[in-house]
Amino acid sequence: MLITQLKSKETIESLAKGKTFIINCHGCKEVYFAEHEADTLQKELCEAKEVAQIVTTDYICNPDNLALQLKKHKDTIEACDTILVFSCGVGIQTVADMFTDKHVYSCCDTYPLPGFQGVTPLNVDCGQCGECYLNFTGGICPITACSKSLVNGQCGGAKNGMCEVDKDMECGWERIYRKLEKLDKLDTLKYEPKVRNYWNPNEEIEDKQ
């Protein structure tokens, strides 16, 4: 089971740059989604920002399903600069993978809970780290796409774009760099050194429930 928790209102507001399309995923019954809070926040966003449309759908982690669900919104999305996704890390990465020329941002942090983890396609994975990095990394997860789960850039181990640990795996940071390069967003990488937080957040979340 997963818990998706909304990022702070300030963070989400800062992400809604230009014309914005919002996707909510209410797919897995195994995922706790802060539906009410998201709804309130999105209403506020509509007043403060240029929100083209809000779509609430399910199982966006499945690329075929996602394409089908968004088919009728194709033109609207095409006219947008930014897509905000309210889902677990897998859903966000699937959207980012589908719209490679849009700024796709995560509005949730995903935490793990013991037990069944939902239906996950094989091409992307969410590490459920509870501090979603996808907004800094072009929608490609450095926790799961990098063998060392590095959050401050590529190590010296990539050869011909492949990982030193698994020669059949592309270097995650190389993919992140190329994606941001394509989006003309390489400045996103100029952040202060990031230090991961391994303090198990579950206890606090369980307390809240």
Partner: protein
């Protein structure tokens, strides 16, 4: 002494790499260091379980070398220790008077002789550099105050100028500089042209860079590196030249000459040289002589 003081004085800084043994018989390493390196290099890098192969520790070896009157550089990787152990070892280094650090992410565990080990990577080269800088400011990573006068180090890092994705490497280099890196040693360079173009882009960061060289011992080693070592590419013509050596003398002289030639070609484009000799410490004086790099003292 911190080697940043040498860079500040405009010295061409020469360093060499030594690897602690798997065991505690260290006399050989000390003897070689005295015989071949003491008058030729400013400082000695001591590797930290290099290539993920378990050996005697870098910090203890640094202390032994320091007591022998040599200047050690403590290499620290993030593979085997979490942030508590890393910060603790950095403070321990200060306690032992070790003032030079080279901060690395580290090879993955499965590349070494304990592939079953847990890879840690709690921090990485950038966040470790940040952590050391915080200690110098008097605080640990959690924000707690450090007692007494904070330590001060020369904080080094590595970069791969001949990487096939050099732009990604430059982005990481920038992140390291921002985090507090004060000097760089590069991965082994065999292609001077690539090094020149890298240095053109790297000079914007205003941090000294030492050219890294690995003595090309023989054809087999070069082919192995081309297939397996990231950021290293030995061009075909160099491999052809090494083949002649095998037919001629098997002395390794050609490799020594090639290494010297690379240093000679690159030395006006950088701030020093770092020699990775992989056991051929005895050839370092000859290489430096051929490259026209004078003894240090």
């Amino acid at each position: 002494m911190r080697i940043t003081e040498l860079f500040d004085k405009g010295e061409f800084v020469v360093t060499a790499e030594v690897g602690p043994p798997k065991g505690v018989e260290i006399d050989h390493l000390i003897k070689d260091a005295h015989e071949y390196l003491k008058t030729r290099v400013h400082a000695l890098n001591v590797t930290d379980n290099q290539s993920s192969v378990m050996r005697t520790g870098s910090l203890a070896t640094c202390k032994v070398l320091k007591d022998e009157g040599l200047l050690p550089i403590f290499q620290i990787t993030c593979r085997d220790r979490n942030r508590i152990a890393l910060q603790s070892d950095v403070l321990s280094a200060a306690l032992l008077g070790i003032e030079n650090l080279l901060l690395l992410t580290g090879d993955y565990t499965t590349l070494g002789d304990h592939p079953q080990a847990k890879p840690v990577f709690d921090l990485d080269s950038v966040s470790l550099t940040h952590a050391v800088k915080r200690l110098e400011e008097g605080f640990d990573l959690a924000g707690n105050e450090v007692d007494g006068t904070p330590p001060k180090f020369a904080k080094g890092a590595v970069v791969s100028p001949c990487s096939d994705s050099v732009d990604v490497q430059l982005a990481k280099m920038e992140a390291k500089v921002k985090a507090g890196t004060e000097y760089f040693q590069t991965q082994g360079v065999y292609e001077p042209e690539k090094f020149f173009s890298f240095m053109e882009k790297a000079k914007q960061f205003g941090v000294p860079v030492q050219l890294g060289v690995i003595i090309p011992k023989n054809v087999g080693m070069c082919r192995y590196m081309n297939a397996n070592v990231a950021g290293v590419h030995v061009p075909d013509d160099m491999i052809e030249e090494l083949k002649k050596d095998k037919e001629r003398t098997k002395s390794g002289d050609v490799g020594v000459e090639l290494c010297a030639k690379i240093i000679k070609e690159c030395k006006d484009h950088c701030d020093g040289v770092h020699i990775m000799s992989l056991g051929w410490e005895n050839r370092i004086p000859e290489i430096l002589d051929l490259a026209g790099v004078a003894p240090v003292k």
